[in-house]
């Protein structure tokens, strides 16, 4: 498989970078993260409408950008670089889930709003115990005549505090079901969780006999597995972009900060740290690019590619973000300098969708070890 970006991909990258560097600078990020919502809805509208970032993989006939995993890779890499506060990952997860699970009527009903950025959708699949595997979903849906009722707690729901369309995963007799709940549904309590990472909001949903509409027919698990894999592929791209940016910031600082009459980057202690970070970031690129190219081409095993990318990129991003602080010295851990924002994003995206250890365990199982 040839991992190479086309001219169109590079053009997409330039367009997004230009937009975000103008619209999502550090001040904008700090302003957005201080709000209750956690993002600027006007900016998100523009990202959706001018760049197609809300419906990247939504087909054009549903108003989306009609793109695939490689374009998503590029987009999330760029968004990760600047820590943009936006419900992009929630939206991507939801769009992928709907595409994989829903029938055409539901797709037509749900996707255009998502793609336009006028409707915010998200997927909730983690229960109160905090496990990310779709093999261990403990919340059950109850059939009530033609409709369904949901009870229970769903945690760590991306932007679940403000989404108007919540897609809840629950057990049904024939496997897993995907259920649509409106944001204002009766019996639904939701609260934003105070986050370690201020640049992406997670929420907890509590359902008490909430009426829900089931999306799609039959066991939704295979479709949800693929949607989850594609979402993790986007997340590792985001991690890669964030780490690459940290490396740039650290390198620039090492060139311009003088101590003992020399740029600190001329000391091997700093220089070799930077070299090791470069290595980590290059391997992140390999991991993240590989996952999305496998998703796009169908060559190779997507599940393995995603597990290995998530395991590696999570630890590498944290390493790079932490070392960026170290290279900056005292300034690096001040509130006013942005290095800590990357560290917190790195740690939260490491935990999100399962720990590196769990992904390694799953690779071990697949290798038959």
């Amino acid at each position: 498989m040839d991992i190479r970006f086309s001219d169109e991909h590079e053009e997409l990258r330039r367009t997004i970078r230009q937009f975000l560097s103008a619209e999502s600078g550090e001040q904008a990020v700090r302003a957005a993260m201080a709000t209750e919502r956690g993002h600027d809805p006007k900016l998100w509208q523009r990202m959706a409408q001018e760049l197609g970032l809300a419906g990247l993989v939504v087909p054009e006939n549903f108003g989306g950008a009609g793109m695939g995993p490689i374009e998503a890779l590029v987009a999330f890499e760029e968004m990760g670089r600047v820590l943009v506060c936006a419900p992009a990952l929630a939206s991507h997860f939801a769009a992928n889930a709907i595409l994989a699970v829903a029938g055409e009527a539901d797709q037509e009903a749900l996707l255009p709003g998502i793609a336009a950025g006028t409707s915010l959708a998200t997927v909730a699949h983690v229960d109160a115990a905090g496990r990310w595997d779709l093999s261990i979903v403990s919340n059950e849906a109850r059939r009530e005549g033609e409709s369904w009722r949901l009870d229970g707690v769903w945690r760590y729901v991306l932007d679940g505090h403000v989404a108007d369309r919540l897609l809840l995963v629950a057990r049904v007799p024939d496997g897993l079901g995907l259920f649509l709940v409106e944001g204002e549904a009766t019996g639904l309590t939701r609260k934003a969780l105070p986050g370690l990472d201020l640049t992406r909001r997670l929420a907890e949903l509590r359902c008490s006999a909430v009426a829900a509409r089931r999306i799609g027919e039959g066991d939704a698990r295979p479709g949800l597995e693929r949607a989850l894999q594609l979402t993790i592929a986007a997340l590792v791209a985001e991690q890669t972009g964030g780490a690459a940016r940290c490396l740039e910031i650290a390198t620039d600082y090492a060139k311009s900060r003088y101590q003992f009459g020399r740029p600190i980057g001329s000391f091997q202690a700093i220089k070799h740290h930077c070299a090791d970070l470069l290595v980590s970031v290059e391997l992140m690129r390999s991991a993240a690019y590989h996952a999305s190219f496998v998703a796009a081409t169908g060559e190779g095993d997507l599940e393995t590619a995603v597990h290995q990318a998530k395991a590696w990129c999570s630890e590498a991003y944290f390493e790079v973000a932490a070392e960026n602080i170290q290279i900056h010295g005292g300034m690096g851990f001040t509130w006013e300098y942005p290095a800590h924002l990357y560290l917190k994003r790195a740690k939260s995206s490491e935990v999100l969708f399962g720990s590196p250890a769990r992904h390694r365990e799953q690779i071990g199982e697949r290798l038959g070890l």
Binding site: V126, Y156, G195, A322, F333, A357, E361
Partner: protein, 414 residues
């Protein structure tokens, strides 16, 4: 090592402590009264000369005093809690370099905690390279006028006095153009502002000095001798070793408790981890626990060596190990917590570092994880510590220097 005419042994020292306690007992009198009595008995810094809070003994013997007091009193005062910088660093500097009337005025009040002290050395442009600092002191008659900005000044907002390092001659090589001042923090032009960290807490301050006037007799040492005086201060920085030396009471203690109470196999264990995941975590916990235990033993060896008057490399090793180990321990702590690590219950209100709210074990683990990022920077970066270990302990040669024998003003600064 000693100015006293005859050596006081351990037994006699214990007798003197008991005599002090008979006269002023910490459970009976207030802190200032007790500590002033301790000072007058020469039991504040036993290695200081008589008449200055000491008895001219070896520094290692202070621990005998502390142990003996602890044995007989419920009220224990910790130097670190009362006036860490003043007692640990300010006092020895004053003792060595200040004029007699300043010694008499300042030393007892440092020990009682009536005067809190801070240190104003670091600057935004002078971190690891403190001697490259830019704060200027210009002579004005008998006084000095100081302008500049200092950072990483802990406790500055509560301090009466500061140890201030400033540049009095930019035309000399960097170490030669510095002078060391005692600064009254209530002087006009001193502006202390909190410096918020990754946690939202402000444990440190920035201090802006705008045309601050300092009387000429508050130079310690002489004009241009500031670096030598600063060395005395810095040499005393790591006397109070971090970390306990009792087995099971080191850095890893929190981690073990976290495992037992909230970890994968504890009562609040969640995330449905597999046995294999738990085994991997357990191995990681034990690995760090061992290192933590060995750090404790190393601290113990240092104390033994100091008591015997043979300080070895163990002390300098401890700072490096502790910084790196605590980062790893707090990272693993977060891993034990699992998915709930995504939540930061206390939020990030910007506040003074001493205004800690009560926190649960879990909340503490999250806070500690963030706070530990600074461990390998504060008090000397791990990179600087490795230089020190390699050059001073192993005798490896220094690097080629581009900032020696050059007027400070001509050193490249990017």
């Amino acid at each position: 090592m000693s100015d006293s005419k005859r050596t006081i042994g351990e037994a006699e020292l214990r007798d003197r402590v008991r005599a002090l306690l008979a006269q002023a007992h910490p459970d009976a009198v207030d802190r200032v009264t007790f500590r002033r009595a301790q000072y007058d008995h020469g039991l504040a810094w036993v290695h200081f000369p008589e008449g200055y809070g000491g008895l001219g003994l070896s520094p290692g013997m202070q621990s005998i005093v502390d142990d003996e007091i602890a044995l007989h009193a419920r009220t224990i005062y910790w130097n670190l809690a009362i006036n860490a910088i003043g007692i640990g660093m300010g006092a020895p500097t004053v003792m060595t370099y200040a004029a007699e009337h300043y010694k008499q005025q300042l030393l007892p009040r440092i020990f009682t905690g009536e005067d809190i002290w801070c240190q104003l050395f670091s600057e935004p442009s002078a971190g690891s390279d403190v001697a490259g600092l830019a704060t200027r002191a210009v002579r004005d008659g008998d006084d000095w006028i100081v302008n500049g900005q200092k950072v990483w000044a802990s406790i500055a907002h509560k301090s009466s006095w500061a140890m201030l390092l400033a540049r009095t001659d930019p035309n000399k090589p960097k170490h030669d153009g510095l002078s060391y001042f005692l600064l009254d923090m209530k002087s006009p032009g001193v502006d202390v502002r909190p410096l918020y960290q990754i946690t939202g807490d402000a444990e440190f301050n920035e201090v802006f000095l705008n045309d601050v006037r300092i009387p000429g007799d508050r130079i310690l040492g002489k004009e241009g001798m500031g670096w030598r005086v600063a060395i005395t201060t810095l040499m005393n920085e790591r006397v109070a070793l971090g970390g306990s030396s009792r087995p099971g009471h080191g850095l890893s203690e929190k981690l073990l408790n976290l495992w037992r109470e909230e970890g994968p196999s504890g009562p609040r264990g969640a995330d449905g981890r597999s046995a294999a995941e738990i085994a991997v975590l357990r191995d990681a916990v034990v690995r760090l626990h061992i290192e933590s235990e060995l750090l404790g033993i190393t601290n113990q060896r240092t104390k033994s060596a100091m008591r015997a008057g043979n300080p070895g490399p163990e002390g300098s090793v401890a700072k490096l190990v502790q910084a790196e180990l605590n980062k790893k321990i707090t990272e693993l702590g977060l891993e034990l917590i699992g998915s709930d690590a995504l939540v930061y219950e206390t939020g990030y209100p910007l506040r003074r570092g001493e205004d800690f709210p009560a926190r649960t074990r879990r909340e503490n683990a999250k806070h500690d994880f963030l706070r530990a990022r600074a461990n390998s920077i504060e008090g000397g970066t791990s990179e600087v510590m490795r230089n020190i270990l390699a050059e001073r302990m192993l005798g490896l040669p220094g690097e080629p220097r581009v900032d020696k024998d050059v007027a400070w003003k001509d050193i490249p600064r990017g």
